[in-house]
Assembly symmetry: none
Homo-oligomer: 264 residues x 2
Amino acid sequence: MVKPKRRQSKTEAAAFASTTGPAIILVRPQLGENIGTAARAMLNCGLMDLRLVAPRDGWPNVKALNAASGADAVIGQARLFESVADAVADLNSVFASTARGREMVKSVFTPRQAAAKLRPASATHAGILFGPERSGLSNDDVVLADAIIEVPLNPAFSSLNLAQAVLIICYEWSVAAQETVPEYLPVGRSPVARKKEILNFFNMLEGELDARDFYPTTVMRPKMVSNLRNLFQRIELSQQDVKSLFGIVKSLTRPPLNKFPEEK
Amino acid sequence: MVKPKRRQSKTEAAAFASTTGPAIILVRPQLGENIGTAARAMLNCGLMDLRLVAPRDGWPNVKALNAASGADAVIGQARLFESVADAVADLNSVFASTARGREMVKSVFTPRQAAAKLRPASATHAGILFGPERSGLSNDDVVLADAIIEVPLNPAFSSLNLAQAVLIICYEWSVAAQETVPEYLPVGRSPVARKKEILNFFNMLEGELDARDFYPTTVMRPKMVSNLRNLFQRIELSQQDVKSLFGIVKSLTRPPLNKFPEEK
């Protein structure tokens, strides 16, 4: 029924997605494109539960489906509500995403702080409210939330596009899930060179340089050799790298082929 | 110094923005809307330096300006380049944002890890490459980068919209700004080399190798060149390092002095 997308089926994409993650609740969204882009951002981050409160252009919406770029399952399962109160009725905790300070006594969290609160396996079923593009959430909407999420941004230019706000908050939720991301993963590396291989290379290189009076004075030689060795040792050379460097130096020490001897 | 929210002039928004933050480099972007939305995301996160490499629909682009939603200063100052090499010439370090694994020996960072590296006050001028919407960066583009940034997402649905990818990486940079922990400062280092200095070195070295038929076959040349460039780019070369490497290659290409010709 569903066609492959980038070698994974939509079913798989949806299967990865969380059944316990927060619901994303778009309150009176205006543009179908933004609903679609928000759905795509949700699935990017492994979230499936999209709720729409009184979308301006009705529902379903073709523009939303087109903009979802394959996140059809999120769009297809989206639920429609008449009021925010209805949309949050089955939830245990609700956050309101807003850029403006509110005259309300509510905790204000960054997306990262909110993600930490939403993340524990024990977390109760939560939802996050996002307001209409033009005006944001009304105070009546925000009152229904337990806490506020504010994205920390350039204070002089802090108005985020709706789908961008959804993305940042979903992204933080998703990253909080992956606490054990390895520092870095060099791709396709040959094994790290042994020190003796590296020293052999240094000796060969330094010998060739000596043979060509590379060092201006003998006094400067030790310092220059040490700089040179430090330079190459910062690379964490692989065995293949050392072989390549050997090949390069050997090649460079040969005379050019003079294929074009007429060139000056 | 910064005025209350939502009533600031565009000049003020730009004044908050960083003059030292990374450049955002869109490589062959297709849709003006995405360029505009990316510019808005940049200014949201306090970044100003937008660079465009061969945008499909030319430049300036009315759709980009409309989609920027007020980030006019970023669009107005955007600089146009013919090639990625030109666009990174004045930078000290370059990251490539890509969703696909690459057969290259490069460090891969999450946006958060990359932000930590970009953040120190001592950080040199950096840039981040983003590829075209449809295909992403080519391998030739990625070779010019020092490291890769991969956004950790739903592995079954990881394709991000261009502007969304720009947003996440700029957002992490911006959040890291609010926790300025200085990294270690290498002692006595000469300033980090600019990309054009490194590219000049590569060109010289590859020219000398070409002159000596270093590459077994022309088919193997691109892969070997790319491995070689990746090897040296892992070092974070200083300006002094590049000078040393120039000196070494020049020296190696000269014939030995034969001070002791009687030695065999």
